[in-house]
């Protein structure tokens, strides 16, 4: 097994929580980030006595430095394991998701965040549920769960159930799916995750977004609905295929932009650098 590629991520906003971690927190405690001075009798921690400030103070009292501590968050991987995710010309999209989960587990452990996983197809998949925990070995377990799971036709209803489990908490949510569904019902689901920082990961296969190069007759079966369609792949159709993909991409961009999210597109394979860059840009 190839070593997981770690990526760097930081929450773009302050996180609540007492557990020390690497994100900027909102709670006071042991940290480098100065907030204010406080009376020694209010915060009896003589280790943080600030003599210079105490001498300068007009009220002639002992002042201690108060700072914010960095906190850890709970990271949740929400994975779509519907049948369409099993599609892929060379590697199934689920494999891409599994690779990412492995990288994510590696990165979260380094950052000191707990990682959990929720999977869904038409309903929430209880067999693939992993509660959030700080455990170095969990990444491998999760990715194996994903790699070996059996797929079934999926729907937004499954996502609704999965999100219901996460919604009250706050944290970082990676929502992995190919988003091959109507966006009408997706709005409320994403809105329910408002307490979290959501990274919509749109996983597409190269064969989905780029039509085959040679002219041919393609008899296709939908992996979820079972309907079939025959396409005569020719330049005209190829242009319309690319148009459809571009339109869908625009639609998704607009949908997530309205919720101040930026979708992260994965095509073919997951790139850790691209993910790091995504977070740098979000935090900039």
């Amino acid at each position: 097994m190839a070593t997981a590629q770690a990526f760097h991520y930081r929450m773009p906003r302050r996180v609540a929580g007492q557990r020390p971690g690497s994100h900027r927190g909102s709670s006071l405690g042991a940290g480098q980030e100065f907030v204010s001075h406080a009376n020694l009798y209010d915060r009896p921690d003589p280790r943080r006595l600030d003599l210079r400030a105490s001498v300068r103070s007009l009220s002639r009292e002992w002042l201690v430095r108060v700072s914010r501590q960095r906190a850890g968050v709970t990271v949740q991987a929400v994975v779509d394991v519907s049948a369409s995710m099993a599609f892929g010309a060379h590697t199934p999209k689920l494999q891409v998701a599994a690779d990412f989960v492995e990288a994510l587990a590696f990165s979260t452990f380094r950052a000191g965040d707990a990682l959990g996983m929720v999977a869904f197809d038409a309903t929430e998949r209880a067999d693939l549920f992993v509660p959030a925990m700080l455990n170095r070995g969990m990444g491998e377990v999760m990715s194996r769960l994903i790699r070996q799971c059996r797929t079934a036709p999926g729907s937004v209803a499954g996502l609704e159930q999965a999100v219901a489990r996460l919604a009250p908490r706050s944290g970082l949510v990676f929502l992995m799916s190919d988003f091959h569904w109507s966006l009408d019902r997706l709005g409320p689901v994403v809105d329910a995750l408002a307490h979290n920082f959501v990274v919509p990961m749109i996983i597409w296969d190269q064969a989905e977004i780029e039509p085959p190069a040679q002219d041919a007759i393609a008899a296709l079966d939908d992996s979820e609905s079972g309907t079939s369609r025959t396409l005569w792949i020719r330049p005209l159709l190829r242009a319309r295929w690319r148009d459809n993909v571009a339109n869908r991409k625009r639609e998704l961009d607009r949908f997530f932009a309205a919720r101040s999210m930026r979708p992260f597109y994965v095509t073919g394979a997951f790139g850790a650098d691209a993910m790091s860059e995504y977070f740098f840009e979000v935090n900039a």
Binding site: A207, A219, L220, S228
Partner: protein
């Protein structure tokens, strides 16, 4: 014409529902795709898919129908023509391989005639066959039958309108050498019997082409007389005379004992019409044939059997065509995602 379709193996038609297999939605040759809805609708592709289904359906149906052995059943057609039913009875004995005199024999020295005949003339059998073949050609409305005989009669072709069949029979008569014996009585009897089961639809002629006769036994004579009368048959004898054979034109006291003359006398004694043509050279033979040709021109009605026609190869050809279309489709199919 009753163009009724029948099947030699109708139980094969039970496999006909197999033709519906291509209409089943599940196919093995399709590629999986994650989400068809975002692919463009393609009318041409839809039509290709429909055409594929139709081709597959028709291919299976044609194969099943071909296996069931379709065909038009045997029918009978009443035809009306002019002419006669002519049964040609050719002597196939070895003497027929001898050569005839050339047409200019009368100018030759009688001493060399025999020698000339052996060296220059045409074999009798061949001359007769050539002329008969021409005769058959010139009389498209007649129906012919063909029978050879030597020791016993050989049925070559029943009485039929298929002249190409007769022609082939006449040609085939030239293969190999002649046979040894000759039994005219039996041959004639069986020629007469060829007419036995036929409805009388026009004048009937037996054309005996022979170079020899026979003395017939009394009961054979009786049989022949009765048979010819019963079937109302005209007998024509083209007698291919050898150089030193009996001559019908010079019958003398002594020649009465010759078998040819005896046969000739017997034929003359028949109640049915009889004509003898004595041919010594191909020219005489041609004259005889022309004369016979001028005799008979009466309209006749006859029933023709049209044999069963098998259509299964048309169905197989159709199946092969549709299979070729399917192969072409297969060749253009997308096998895997690149």
């Amino acid at each position: 014409m009753g163009a009724l379709l029948d099947f030699t193996q109708p139980w094969m038609l039970m496999a006909l529902p197999l033709a519906l297999l291509p209409l089943l939605p599940n196919r093995r040759d399709t590629l999986q795709f994650s989400h068809l809805a975002w692919l463009p609708a393609d009318r041409a592709g839809h039509m290709l898919s429909t055409a594929w289904r139709a081709c597959a359906l028709l291919a299976i149906a044609s194969v099943v129908l071909a296996l069931a052995g379709p065909g038009r059943s045997q029918t009978q057609v009443m035809r009306t023509g002019t002419g006669a039913e002519i049964l040609v009875l050719i002597d196939r004995s070895r003497s027929m391989d001898e050569r005839m005199l050339t047409s200019d024999w009368q100018t030759l020295d009688p001493l060399v005639v025999r020698y000339q005949a052996q060296s220059r003339g045409q074999p009798k059998g061949k001359a007769a066959r050539d002329l008969l073949s021409k005769f058959v050609d010139e009389r498209p409305h007649d129906r012919f039958g063909l029978m050879c005989f030597s020791a016993n009669p050989i049925h070559v072709a029943p009485i039929t309108r298929r002249t190409e069949f007769i022609q082939a029979g006449i040609t085939a008569g030239g293969v190999g050498r002649g046979l040894t014996n000759t039994d005219v009585g039996w041959a004639l009897n069986s020629a007469i019997q060829a007419f036995d089961q036929r409805a009388y639809s026009g004048s009937r002629i037996i054309l005996l082409v022979s170079d020899g006769g026979a003395k017939l036994a009394t009961d054979v004579r009786r049989q022949l007389r009765e048979g010819l009368l019963r079937n109302r048959i005209t007998l024509n004898w083209i007698y291919l005379r050898s150089v030193n054979g009996a001559d019908f034109n010079a019958i003398s006291e002594q020649s009465e004992t010759l078998p040819e003359i005896a046969l000739h006398r017997f034929f003359q004694s028949l109640q049915t019409p009889y004509t003898a043509y004595q041919a010594m050279s191909p020219q005489d033979l041609a004259d005889a044939v022309t004369d016979i040709g001028n005799q008979q021109h009466f309209p006749i009605d006859f029933i023709e059997q049209i044999p069963r026609r098998d259509y299964s190869r048309y169905f197989l050809a159709t199946a092969a065509f549709f299979c070729a279309m399917l192969l072409a489709y297969r060749a253009f199919r997308l096998r895997e995602w690149s």
